[in-house]
Symmetry: C2
Subunit: 214 residues, 2 copies
DNA sequence: CATGCTTGGATAGTGCCGCTAACCAAGAAG
DNA sequence: CTTCTTGGTTAGCGGCACTATCCAAGCATG
């Protein structure tokens, strides 16, 4: 398959495909001669993957390259490989460690993990970007003066844990190990916008149920 | 409070505050004379709100202006006002209506709402951006060849509905109607990154539980 | 009162990002 | 032998979130 056909079948312009090749998101085609390269189904699939990550997952191009690098790295174990890929995803900016709200949020997050018994997550608190993002988000709400019962955060966490269980069950259902790794990363990236959309739909539904359209 | 003090207390540079004033994210200060303007606590709070939306919620500046416009619009009822604000949030791009995966995803989404009995959401399917985003996300996964039991999507939706119930309970706990509207929008914007962070943490935890660190 | 500093407002510029248009020489097609 | 198409290279574009610079008006000090 030539570049033009790859473009047609994927719906991505040749210029953009060339850009992805340049950026290393797509392995080069098999060079037939100086002016022709051949691409196969694997390229097509990879291209769709890249597009989904960029358009649906809103992952920056440079990050997609990094994430795919981890996915392709056969040397690592599953948890590490998944972790490496997930940790490359864009995260909230580093919090200011001196800020009082940040310190309070950190305490709240630590208590949360303890209460939940997430022993593994607790090992990662100093390094996991997800933990850091949680602290930033909680600190932002606290800074705006919102107070809540610790039970609330706990409830959210339990819900998201159940979502994670569904994610990983789905991953395990994949046939090959390579597919499982890809699904784990892709799942994490594509399930997020799906959950977000469902969340907003659910808010609309619940708001309309409670208050009608007034 | 002068601009310099507003900057110091919020941690936002004066240049950036001027930019927000220009962009209409912040109402102008009370003009004292040709070279001095006074800002009050309300400005400080608003500025923190804007920062949270931009930095934690990753909402584009133009969208923040739009969302705040709806929040400040006393003429609308609660559901409409919340809806208007939520609908202004960035969404996934318009799907290609001719694509087979998009059509399949639309059917799946419709069945989902029917099964859940989300009667209100079903009224909104043609116009709600959240519905559109859901379709795009589902279509992207289908395009990559992933198949799943309809039960899976249903489970995710039930989880997010429970999250939405928690959200709205929290909103109802606010004292004034103005606060409730603001909380509803802010909640929607700031809870999302929090849920995302919890989701990723939960995935790390669950993956480590199942497979260890190998 | 003079001098120098600070203030807030306006304008233009910066850096990054995701493309995209234009060009090019090598090769295929008729 | 033209004429068209190919894939690779380069430079540019448009949007975004700031940010550096300039400016005239005021305030503060000797």
């Amino acid at each position: 398959m030539r570049l033009a056909e790859l473009s047609e079948r994927s719906g991505v312009s040749t210029a953009t495909i060339k850009y992805y090749l340049r950026e290393g998101l797509l392995p080069p085609g098999r060079q037939i001669n100086a002016t022709t390269a051949a691409y196969d189904e694997e390229h097509l699939r990879r291209l769709r993957l890249v597009r989904a990550m960029i358009q649906v997952g809103r992952i920056p191009v440079a990050t997609v390259r990094e994430v795919l690098g981890h996915v392709d790295d056969d040397a690592l174990g599953r948890t590490i490989r998944l972790g490496a890929a997930l940790w490359a995803l864009p995260q909230l900016p580093e919090p200011d460690a001196d800020d009082e709200h940040v310190r309070a949020a950190r305490t709240e997050a630590d208590t949360l993990l303890e209460t939940l018994g997430w022993a593994n997550a607790r090992l990662l608190t100093t390094i996991s970007p997800a933990y850091r993002s949680l602290v930033v988000a909680v600190a932002a709400m606290r800074r705006l003066g919102y107070e809540w019962d610790p039970e609330l955060l706990l409830s959210y966490a339990r819900l998201m844990h159940r979502a994670a269980v569904l994610d990983l069950d789905f991953v395990e259902a994949q046939e090959s190990e390579a597919e499982r790794i890809e699904t784990a990363v892709l799942g994490a990236i594509l399930v997020e916008p799906m959950l977000q959309a469902l969340h907003r739909l659910a808010q609309e539904e619940e708001s309309a149920r409670r208050y009608g359209f007034e």
